[in-house]
Symmetry: C3
Subunit: 345 residues, 3 copies
C-alpha cells in the first residue's frame, strides 16, 4: 500500500513542498529508510533531519527550508503532531479498505444473540460473542469475538469492542468508543458493611456504568458499577491498560489516565485532567478541572486548584536509599533537634 | 418494582415509624427524590436530612425524631449500614424474582462440558463455558459465559462465577463465593531458578489454589497456584479488582484487600486484616491478625502487632515536590550536619 | 505417581547416596512427610534437616553427611535450586504422560479456525478458540480454550497459550513460550495528540509486538503494540501477572519483571535486568544491562550503571508516618535552617 504526498495533503490538509513522492510506510525519524515518511515536531529536532534516511518529511513551517535540503518532497503543517495523528487514521482506513476488512458487517453464525436483543442492521458481531436480552447495539457497532454484552446494556453507534470485552448488565457506552481486549465494565463495586464480629456483609451494587462518546479504554481495565447511582465516564476520556475505576467515580470530559492508575470509589475527577501511570486517587476526593497528577503519585486530599502535583520517593542506589529511608523515619525528631539548636543559638 | 416499608421490616427487621409508604428505589441522600428510600448512618449527617428529597428514610434510633420531621415514614435500625447492606440484597433478590432470572437453571447447549465432569442437578452453565474432566460443580453453582473450569477443579454450592472466569486445574473455591469477570485462579506462580549464565529455568508450579467459603474476588484479579503446597484464601475474604496474589500466599479469614494491591509470594496475611488500594506486601513476610495497611503503602518487614501502618510520599505541587525530593536524597548527610552542629553548640 | 531416587538421577543427573527410596511428592522441608522429597539449598538451613519429616532429600555436597544422618537416601547436586527446577519439570512431564494428557493433539471441533490460517500438523487448539486468517501456528503449539489469534499473528513451535489469551493482529511469539490466561498482546498503545481545545486525537498504532523464544508472560499482563515500530521482548524474558508494557518498549534478553510492574512507552530495559513487583519505569528511559530495581520503586531517570536501585517510602505506624510525612513537605526549608545554623555557629 503506497500513498503519494499529494493524496495525503488532499485528505488531511497542509501543503506539499517539492516533488509528489510515493511513500510506503510511516517511520520514526531514526529508523526511517527509503519509502518512509517521518515527522519532526519541534525545532529542537532539526539536526536529526540531517541524518534521517526518510524519503519524505512532515514538518512545521519553521523547518520547511531545512527539510527541503534533505528530502525531495515534504509536507508542511501547522500542528505537526495532530496532523500525524490524523495521518495514521487515514493510513489505517486505507489499509482496511485494501484488505477488504470493510466488507459487509455481519453477525457471526457462532455468536449467541438473544432474540430479545436489538441490533441495528449494520452491526458486526464476532464468533462466540454473547449478546443478552434487551441489549442494544447501535449502527455500525463492532463486537469482537468472546465479548459479553449484558442484559439491557447498550453500545453506541460505531463503537468498537475488541475481542473479549465484558459490558455488564444495564451498562452503557456512547458512540465512537473503543474498548480493548479484557476490559470489564460493570463488575460489582467493592462494597461491604462490617459486622460487629469483623465479617463483611455484601452491599449489592444497584447502579450501572455510563460512558460517554469518543471514549477509549485500554486492555484489562476495570470500571465498576455504582452502589446506588451510576459510575460516570465523560466524553472523550482516554483510559490506558490495567486501570481500576471504583464504584461511583465520576471522570470529567477529555481527561486521560495512564496505565496501572487506580481511582477509588466515589472520587470525582474534573475535565481535562491527566493522571500518570501507577498513580492512585483515594476515595471520596474531588479533583478540579485541569489537575495533572504525576506518575506513581498518591492523591490523599482533594485538589481545588488546577496545576501539576507530584509525590514520589526519589530513586537512588540501594545503599543510599537504605540510609535515607532509615533517617526519614526519624525526620520529625530531626526537626525537633533543629528547633532546639535554633533556640540555643 | 416497589416495596412497602412494612414489607422491608418484615423481611429484614427494624421498626417502622409513621406511615407505611411505597418506595421504588434506593438512593443516596443527596440525589434522592420522590419514591426514594435513603439511609443516614451517623448523627453528623443529621443536617442533610433537612435537605433530602427522599420519601422515606432508614436511620439509627438517635435520628428517629429528626427523620419524623422530614418524612412521613421511616425505618429505625440499630446498625444502619449493616441493615442497608441486607436491604440491597433483599431488593436485588426481589428484582431477580420479578425478572424471572430465577427460572430453572440449566447447562446452555453451547457450553462444552466434559462427560467426566460432575455437575449437581441444579447448576447453571452459560454459553461457551468449558468444564473439563473431573471438575465438580456444587448445588446451585452458576458458571457464566466463557468461563473455564479446569481439570479436577471444584466450585462449591451456590458459588457464582460471572462471565469469563478461569479456575485452573485442581483449584477449589468453597460455597457462596462470587468471582467477577476476568478473574484468573491458578495461573503458575512466578518461580524460576537462575542459571549461572543469568538465564531462568522454570520451576513447575505443582500446588493449587484453595479458596474458602463466602469469598468475593474482583474483576481481573489473579491468584497464582502454589509452587509445592497450595495458595490458600480463608473464609469470608474479600478481594477487589486487579489484585495480584502470588504463589503460596495465605490470607486469613475475613481479611479484605482493595484494588490494585499486590501480595508477593509466600507472604502470610492474618485474619481481619485490611490492605489498602495499590499497597504492596513483599514476599515471605508475615502480618499478624488485624493489621491495617494504608493505600499505596509498601510492607517491607513482617508486622507482629495489630494496628494501622502507612508509608506514602505526601503529594505536593510539583515544584515543591522536586525541591523536597532532591533534598531527601541528602537526608542522611543532613542528619550528620545536625549532629555536627549539636557537638559544636 | 511415584519415582525412585535412581530414576530421578538417571533423568536429571546428580548422585544418589544411600538407599534407592520411592518418593511420591515434592514438599517444602517444613511440611514434608513420609513419601516426600524435599530440598535444602544453603548450609544455613542445615538445622531444618534435623526436624524435617521428609523421606528423602536433595542437598548440595556440603550437606551430604548431615542428610545421611536424617534420611536413608538422598541426592547430591552442585546447584540444588536449578536441579530442583528441572526436577519439577521432569515430575510434571511424567504426570502428563500418566494422565494421558499427552494424547494426540487436535483442533477441537468447537474452535473457529480460518481456512486461511496455517497450522502445523501437530498443534492443539481448544474449544471456542478463534484463529484468524493468515495466522500461523508452529509445530506443537498449544492454543487454549477461548484464545484469540489475530490476523497474521504467529505462534512459534511448542509455545503454549493457556485458556483465554489474546494475540493481536500481526503479533509474534517465538518458540517454547508460555502465555497465561488473560494475557493481551497487541492492544493499541496509549497514543493521542492533543487538540488545542484539550481534546485527544487518536494516533493509530501501526506497529506490532515481537516476542522472542522461551518467554513466559503472567496472567492478565498486557503488552501493547508499537506506534510505528514494534514493541520488542527479548529471548528468555519472564514477566509476572498484571504487568503493563507500553508501546515501543524494548526489553533485553533474560530480564525478569515481577507482578504489577509498569513500563511506560518507549522505555528500553537492558538484558539480565530485574524489576520488582509494583515498580514503575517511566517512558523514554534507558536502563543498562544488569540493572535491578526494587519492588515498588519508581525509575524517573535513565540508569547507565548496573546495580541495585531503590526508592520506597518506609512503612511506619500510621501516627509516626503522619508526623514524618508532614515534616517531609518542609524538608527543603529544614535544609535552609541547617545552613543558617551552620553560618551562625
Amino acid at each position: 500500500l503506497t500513498h503519494t504526498l499529494s493524496s495525503i495533503v488532499q485528505a488531511i490538509g497542509g501543503s506539499l513542498v517539492g516533488e509528489d513522492l510515493l511513500v510506503e510506510r510511516l517511520s520514526p525519524l531514526e529508523t526511517a529508510g527509503p519509502g518512509s515518511l517521518s515527522f519532526v515536531n519541534h525545532g529542537r529536532y532539526a539536526r536529526y533531519i540531517q541524518e534521517t534516511g526518510a524519503s519524505a518529511l512532515l514538518v512545521p513551517p519553521a523547518l520547511s527550508s531545512v527539510a527541503a535540503q534533505r528530502v525531495r518532497g515534504h509536507i508542511v503543517a501547522d500542528d505537526v503532531y495532530l496532523y500525524f495523528a490524523r495521518l495514521t487514521q487515514h493510513w489505517r482506513s486505507c489499509e482496511r479498505l485494501a484488505a477488504g476488512d470493510a466488507g459487509a458487517p455481519a453477525v457471526h453464525p457462532l455468536a449467541c444473540v438473544s432474540p430479545r436483543a436489538r441490533l441495528a442492521p449494520d452491526v458486526d458481531v464476532g464468533p462466540f460473542a454473547v449478546i443478552e436480552a434487551h441489549a442494544e447495539l447501535g449502527a455500525g457497532a463492532r463486537i469482537g469475538a468472546h465479548c459479553h454484552i449484558g442484559v439491557g446494556a447498550r453500545v453506541g453507534a460505531r463503537s468498537v469492542l475488541r475481542p473479549r470485552v465484558v459490558l455488564g448488565d444495564r451498562c452503557v457506552i456512547g458512540s465512537d468508543g473503543l474498548l480493548h481486549s479484557g476490559v470489564v465494565i460493570g463488575a460489582d463495586g467493592f462494597g461491604f458493611a462490617p459486622h460487629s464480629g469483623g465479617q463483611w456483609e455484601k452491599i449489592e451494587q444497584m447502579g450501572a456504568v455510563r460512558i460517554g462518546d469518543h471514549v477509549e479504554i485500554g486492555a484489562n481495565t476495570c470500571v465498576d458499577r455504582g452502589a446506588l447511582d451510576d459510575t460516570v465516564i465523560g466524553n472523550g476520556v482516554k483510559i490506558d491498560n490495567l486501570v481500576q475505576i471504583g464504584h461511583n467515580v465520576r471522570i470529567g470530559d477529555h481527561s486521560a489516565l495512564a496505565g496501572c492508575a487506580g481511582v477509588a470509589g466515589s472520587a470525582v475527577i474534573g475535565a481535562y485532567c491527566t493522571v500518570g501511570g501507577g498513580a492512585v486517587v483515594l476515595g471520596h476526593l474531588t479533583l478540579a478541572d485541569r489537575v495533572h497528577v504525576s506518575a506513581a503519585s498518591v492523591v490523599m486530599r482533594s485538589i481545588a486548584q488546577p496545576g501539576h502535583y507530584s509525590g514520589v520517593f526519589p530513586l537512588d542506589d540501594n545503599a543510599s536509599w537504605e540510609k535515607n529511608a532509615a533517617t526519614l523515619r526519624q525526620l520529625h525528631r530531626l526537626r525537633d533537634r533543629i528547633k532546639q539548636l535554633e533556640r540555643q543559638t
